[in-house]
Symmetry: C2
């Protein structure tokens, strides 16, 4: 899950044409935010700095496997990272990944 990312723009001022591979990469990242639950999770992590999965399970009226699935999607997209401490798993945002996405839109 390395998140080595090239400075590719999709739109905004002075954009360069995108090769198919870059389009695929960008679309994959936006797809990670294409679900309201995942947007809400990311939003929560953005204001909490670190969050236990059990809190997320309590915050959203969805089953535990569903929340776990959304967390995996966000992990695979490189937007969040997790670490286990004892019995609990803690998730936090990857700020650079968000910045990357923002720059993609032409900041």
């Amino acid at each position: 899950m390395s998140m080595k990312t090239l400075p590719v723009l999709c739109c905004g001022p002075a954009v360069e044409p995108l090769d198919p591979e870059a389009s695929e990469t960008l679309a994959a990242r936006f797809r990670a935010l294409s679900d309201p639950t995942r947007v809400a999770i990311v939003n929560r992590l953005a204001s909490t700095e670190e969050c236990c999965v059990c809190d997320l399970n309590a915050a959203f009226e969805l089953s535990q496997p569903t929340i776990s699935h959304h967390l995996k999607v966000l992990r695979d997209a490189g937007l969040v990272e997790s670490s286990r401490r004892g019995t609990w798993a803690y998730y936090r945002l990857v700020p650079d990944a968000v910045s990357e996405l923002r720059r993609t839109l032409g900041g």
Copy 2:
């Protein structure tokens, strides 16, 4: 397709908690960019300022109905707008919509 938009943040510095409706709205916009073809279309429009549908049909190896479908998705999301001049339809970006999305990520 009015695009009256509230200044809602989903992440980034100093974000406020999101109500379910706002999450839905944000997710819908990101979903419009969750397809590589649509990312490429937006990218192309960002550097061409205005573009005929026939050029898009030629640029992507997809059927004309498929391109038309993607353009509709982008239109419904408020990211692009179109106008017919004679036989041809011209599409262009809605810069404010892109800026909105960028601000959503905490610019």
